[in-house]
Assembly symmetry: C2
Homo-oligomer: 234 residues x 2
């Protein structure tokens, strides 16, 4: 079947580095779902505002591969243990479609590219193509007593690292974001960034305390070092 | 993006009529997920057996349409009220991909077409192509306090109809299923069928007590009439 993007996401991640490993992990992250012209029909969204959460079906566009891999190494298992690809949400699967639930904050019916969905908690890169938006149906989709296999043993929403700043770094960051977004929005960007950092954004588990890592968040380059359980923005 | 089926489902629904409107509604329904040859690699399923539930991404193959519809009439709203297609799980959407969570009962590594996933609660028609199998991650996917919009007002798991039998119909049904499947499996088929019937399998809300409806379940043609809140298998 040929599937075509109906929308794309606009958010603060311009590269894969730093994106939370599942949706909902960093709740402060806001994003916009902007639809292609033919789907900008307010009728198609009637009654959607009654739902608190929506599913996104999206394109693992950064990791399209010619071949799928029968086993993968989930980052949260330290990147060493191999499990079957169908036991993970890894992108290296036969059909590269991602599935994420996000909080629906509002529907903007008045902006230039309306209707736009404003969402929180997305684990998608800026510009990711979206194939479908579906309402989250609590009576069918929420299974609180479901057993999550090897993921149950991982403390998923527990921050891994304490976030610190080198001398002057906190003020510099605050002023860079304030110039770009104003004081209020700057505070939200920094709260989101600190959550991302506390979740250990390094691609694989490493103990290299001398290495300076870099990521871009909301248009600002952030550099940091990690030592023991401390992550220091420099 | 071109997506290709990786598996298909084998279950008791040979037509759309009678299929529950969401997964999990009729828990007694068992089905098999049979993979295409290139995916019959036990390694790809390593550690999947630790999960109690899985997501299926599947093809609304019976309802492929050239054009999507901005609004649809959900059956559970009586088939009269129109809501936006993105506020529903209706098949009449731009990309005809269905999303269902099912219980993973077991993985059969020994049968002829192994590995086969044995699942419960699927709302799919027999033969439906499947594009992806993903583990259900309780920490990310289960949101018990999510608000379900207009679906919250519908008593989703409340049976709508009392199931009765015309004289001799119950015995005849039991013997037909027993001949086909043996006594134990026959009892399970009848339990599942009664749940399907109690959920009102009629395509749209109707008050026509004189009409005889028919559906096929597990290879047996079932006829019934509906009057008030009583459904009678004849």
């Amino acid at each position: 079947m040929e599937i075509l993007p109906i929308a794309h996401i606009e958010c603060d991640f311009d590269s894969k580095f730093g994106i939370p490993r599942q949706s909902g992990v960093v709740k402060e992250l806001t994003a916009r779902i902007v639809f292609a012209h033919e789907f900008r029909n307010p009728e198609a969204f009637r009654e959607l505002d009654g739902f608190s959460h929506i599913w996104l079906l999206w394109d693992f566009s950064e990791t399209h591969k010619d071949k799928w891999s029968p086993t993968v190494r989930p980052p949260r298992l330290g990147g060493n243990k191999r499990v079957g690809v169908f036991a993970t949400r890894s992108p290296f699967r036969p059909n590269a479609i991602g599935l994420s639930v996000v909080r629906l904050v509002s529907i903007d019916f008045d902006c230039a590219d309306a209707p736009v969905l404003v969402v929180e908690g997305a684990d998608l890169m800026n510009g990711t193509p979206i194939y479908d938006v579906k309402p989250y149906l609590p009576y069918a989709d929420s299974i609180p007593d479901a057993v999550g296999g090897f993921t149950d043993a991982i403390q998923q929403n527990q921050p891994l690292l304490d976030v610190c700043y080198a001398d002057g770094a906190e003020e510099r960051l605050a002023s860079l974001y304030a110039d770009k977004f104003g004081a209020d929005e700057a505070r939200r960007k920094i709260m989101a960034l600190e959550q991302i950092l506390s979740n250990d954004p390094r691609p694989h588990y490493q103990h290299d305390a001398s290495r300076v890592y870099g990521m871009t968040f909301a248009g600002i380059d952030i550099h940091f070092v990690v030592s023991e359980n401390k992550i220091t923005v420099i």
